[in-house]
């Protein structure tokens, strides 16, 4: 059956008339029945202990889950974004024991016994991190989708090097793509934040 010609009128009209999806009987004969089991074969699972933003959780994870999947789907920490899910863009950057990593390229089970910091944990006891304040003042986020990753990479940089040069900032954030290409503002914001003090939320 081709829909490249105009002989599709019947089924489309049927649909438009409100019958919902005109299922072609031949292919969909085995109608979808009520299903209980989530999957056919049990998926390997492991219980891990992971500290996320200073709170330790014991949690059973599927071995195939990535760290970002654990954070977003199971802890509801959706501030960490998935831009590519394959280690290219840096939108999912979090700190793992203080080091910036792509959480799309780490399995959740690898976080066992380790500490994860996300964008949600950046403000401490009601105070914005100096980086967050500087990002606001410099209008660093445009669409904002890469911002969490830029912030976490910058956090890792300032932890290791509190007074970086502009080139050191560019090098540290090289793995964080901003398609709005607001790179100038991100670098200016990180430089401004280095050595600055926190501010109330």
């Amino acid at each position: 059956m081709s829909n490249n010609d105009t002989k599709d009128g019947v089924s489309r009209r049927k649909f438009l008339e409100g019958t919902g999806i005109a299922l072609a009987a031949a292919t969909t004969a085995p109608a979808i029945k009520a299903q209980n089991a989530e999957t056919e074969t049990p998926v390997p699972r492991t219980t891990i202990s992971v500290t996320i933003n200073n709170t330790t959780h014991r949690v059973e994870v599927e071995d195939r889950w990535t760290l970002v999947e654990l954070l977003r789907e199971h802890f509801g920490l959706t501030g960490t974004k998935i831009g590519c899910d394959r280690g290219e863009c840096g939108a999912c950057t979090v700190l793992l024991d203080g080091k910036a990593v792509y959480s799309c390229s780490h399995l959740a089970v690898w976080a066992d016994g380790r500490g994860v910091e996300t964008i949600e944990g950046l403000a401490q006891s009601g105070n914005l991190d100096p980086l967050q304040r500087a990002f606001i003042e410099h209008d660093a986020p445009q669409c904002g989708f890469c911002t969490s990753g830029q912030l976490m990479s910058a956090k890792a940089l300032l932890n290791a090097n509190p007074h970086p040069t502009a080139d050191e900032v560019r090098a540290a954030l090289a793995g964080n793509i901003c398609r709005c290409s607001n790179y100038n503002h991100y670098v200016a914001a990180v430089l401004a934040a280095s050595g600055a003090k926190g501010t109330a939320l």
Binding site: N36, G144, S181
Partner: protein, 718 residues
């Protein structure tokens, strides 16, 4: 021209939603989670061109956790805006007449990555497993990748009507303009130059891949989706699904970039909606990065043949362009090649062929037909100036457009000021080399420039503002912030017009259930059109307050405006600009580094200096990426894309981004809100040409094929 400063408009204002953006609290479509929500995944064609003999979904259907499956056999939904017929906005009339319909699922499939089936399941892993159990029997068909090849008689025919794309009247015709007599111009010109330039397919590559959450309640559909225009998206979804528009609600609170990739509705919205309908549960469909690269659209690649007649004094006599634009197998936009209109020339002829190919689809991308067209024509003209031993700035000053036509004039004109002030600030005379490639040693420096004019038309949009007893204002506007700051801009304009502090304004946005029509975040129009509606509504509300005083108790005063302003006959409104670039080329490695970049723009009055800077810098850096790196490469033997991702397509990173200096020449021509003109697309338009011209000035070789990668530079110098 100097303008009087205003109280709130025109200052450096941090965004009203900045806190949400830096704390991870901003809710993007992928962050939406509804009770009982299923997860969708799409099976895509592994072939460039194939007929589907059969699809067997039975093994997938019986999998526990699989709730719905769509293929072309049970889903005949037409995706109207997926092939908008000649670059014209898809509408009810076109829906009736267009011959070449694009469905959500097509057979035959015409490019690698075209949707073949979609599954909704209890989680993404089950959905992905189910895709693996769908068996598709393909009969592969011959394919064609390059637009010039596609017009040869022996080329595989992608549509029965042939490979030259049909226009809105179902005619296979090239597009173009004709003025004067080019043949006569070439005969009388002192010199005639000819050359060929090509540009690559580059993807919008906005950070947030396409996503959609669709949910039905009875016959009412709610769609959460990233869209540059909730109102247009709703109209399109309703038309495609045969629903009344008031049965569809589109919500977009935050979105991760657009650049033209999220205008109108997308097939993902239709697929998620149909899956949700079949499954009887909400469905979230998120595209992977690779799917987004090949399943959405990017900038159309072009081949441009120029012929230019010029006299000894540098005055242009005739310009001819024969162009070919690769549209993919569906015409999602016009395929035009822009740029000649910014030159004043008595004889002009353009003949541009929008051509079907079996590559991924081309469509809107930040200044749809301009960055690639400007690269071609302004490289060509830079070359002509060089051959005439003229400074390119002098050549432009001699030949640039000064009136849109003999019968019309611009509302204001600052192009000359952009060029002169830019050249002075950039120290053009010092940096541009009269002898291209003359630096001694392996590291060579050079400078290039390009200029632009971009439409800034006024038009219809709407806004509602209400005030409560405490004098607190709520502004209802159907905008979404694609990244350019529309929400903050609307609040700033409202605060100015209402003469109240910005903190006194609340904004309701991005929801067709709560907001009036807005024109949509495409064509750099939101500030001009919706911003003007905000001003009109504010003036009405101020009149009401003056007459009646503030409301009492729980009452509100409400004002709405839906202005549809028109320019007077004979007036054309443009933004203007000029970019100046210095590069350093390592002639041993072929590496290009941008060492200085100045962007001069007249975008009318600046609404927010902070986000305006970001718009100009971002467009310029995106242009650097397009000039030097970006390309979606295809394997000629298989017809499959090879670089569908950030690494492969090589968008600009922190390390590619120079510090971009921005110089605004502000103006107020009396139109738009306080004189605001277009901005977001303008900044990218001349950038590619300026970088390419700088590379020529550095190495003395004209780079005629984008992107200007290391191998091409080394090849040109060999």
């Amino acid at each position: 021209m100097s303008i009087d400063p205003l109280k709130t408009v025109g200052h450096a204002t941090p965004r009203i939603d900045a806190l949400e953006r830096v704390t991870g609290k901003a809710t993007y479509t992928g962050d939406v989670k509804l009770p009982g929500m299923l997860y969708g995944r799409v099976l895509r064609s592994p072939h460039a061109h194939a007929r589907i003999r059969s699809i067997d979904v039975s093994a997938a259907l019986v999998m526990p956790g699989v709730k719905a499956i769509l293929t072309h056999q049970n889903c005949q939904v037409v995706w109207g805006s997926g092939s908008i017929a000649g670059g014209v906005q898809y509408n009810d009339a076109i829906k009736k007449t267009t011959k070449q319909r694009r469905y959500a699922f097509n057979n035959p499939v015409r490019f690698m990555g075209e949707p073949v089936a979609a599954v909704a399941a209890v989680n993404r892993h089950v959905a992905e497993q189910a895709l693996l159990r769908i068996t598709v029997d393909y009969e592969t068909l011959p394919f064609v990748l390059e637009p010039e090849d596609a017009l040869k008689p022996e080329a595989p025919q992608i549509w029965p009507e042939g490979n030259l794309a049909l226009n809105v009247r179902n005619e296979a015709q090239p597009i173009g303009v004709r003025r004067g007599d080019v043949d006569q111009g070439f005969r009388t010109a002192d010199h005639v130059f000819e050359d060929r330039y090509t540009t690559a397919f580059v993807h919008n590559a906005q950070m947030e891949p396409r996503a959609c959450v669709a949910s039905w309640e009875g016959d009412e559909l709610t769609v959460y989706t990233p869209t540059g225009g909730v109102a247009n998206c709703r109209t399109d979804i309703a038309r495609d699904l045969g629903l009344a528009p008031d049965k569809v609600r589109v919500i977009c609170q935050y979105m991760g970039g657009n650049f033209g990739n999220k205008n109108q509705n997308q097939d993902a919205d239709l697929i998620a909606s149909m899956l949700a309908r079949q499954a009887g549960a909400p469905v979230k469909l998120e595209l992977s990065r690779k799917e987004d690269f090949i399943g959405m659209h990017g900038r159309w690649p072009t081949v441009q043949y120029y012929k230019v007649g010029v006299n000894n004094d540098g005055s242009l006599q005739a310009i001819q362009l024969r162009g070919y634009s690769g549209m993919g197998p569906y015409r999602k936009n016009s395929g035009a090649i822009g740029g000649i209109e910014v030159y004043h020339c008595p004889n002009i002829e353009t003949i541009i062929h929008p051509v079907y190919t079996n590559k991924t689809v081309s469509g809107n991308f930040r200044g749809p037909e301009f960055p690639q067209g400007y690269y071609g024509i302004q490289s060509m003209m830079d070359d002509v100036a060089y051959k005439l031993k003229m400074d390119p700035v002098d050549f432009v000053l001699k030949n640039m457009v000064r009136r849109p036509s003999d019968q019309a004039e611009f509302t204001n004109y600052t192009l000359e000021e952009c060029l002169r002030r830019g050249a002075e600030s950039f120290e053009w005379k010092k940096r541009w080399k009269t002898q291209a490639g003359s630096d001694a040693g392996p590291i060579k420096r050079g400078a290039g420039m390009a200029f632009m004019a971009f439409r800034s038309g006024i038009g219809q949009s709407s806004a509602i503002i209400r005030v409560d007893a405490n004098g607190k204002y709520t502004v209802y506007v159907g905008v979404t912030d694609v990244g350019a700051g529309a929400k903050t801009t609307m609040a700033v304009i409202a605060a100015e017009a209402l003469e109240t502090p910005l903190s006194n304004i609340d904004l309701v946005w991005g929801d067709t259930g709560r907001c009036p029509y807005s024109v949509g975040e495409s064509g750099s129009r939101t500030t001009i059109m919706t911003g003007y509606a905000v001003v009109e509504a504010a003036h009405d509300l101020k009149r009401q307050i003056a007459q009646k005083g503030l409301p009492k108790g729980k009452d509100f005063h409400t004002a709405s405006a839906a202005p549809n302003p028109r320019l007077p006959e004979g007036k054309v409104r443009n933004a203007f600009g000029a970019h100046f670039v210095e590069v350093e080329v390592d002639t041993e490695l072929g590496h290009v580094r941008v060492t200085k970049y100045l962007a001069v723009h007249d975008c009318g009055r600046i609404m927010n200096r902070l986000s305006a800077d970001g718009q100009i810098k971002g467009g310029a850096i995106m242009g650097i990426g397009m000039a030097l790196h970006e390309n979606l490469l295809y394997d000629r033997r298989s017809g499959l894309p090879l670089t569908a991702g950030y690494y492969g397509a090589r968008v600009a990173t922190h390390r590619d981004a120079p510090n971009v200096e921005v110089l605004f020449i502000e103006s107020d021509d009396g139109y738009g809100p306080y004189g605001a003109k277009s901005m977001g697309e303008a900044s990218k338009v001349p950038a590619v040409a300026a970088v390419a011209n700088a590379v020529f000035n550095a190495i003395g070789r004209r780079m005629k094929d984008l992107p200007i990668t290391r191998d091409k530079i080394l090849g040109a110098l060999a």
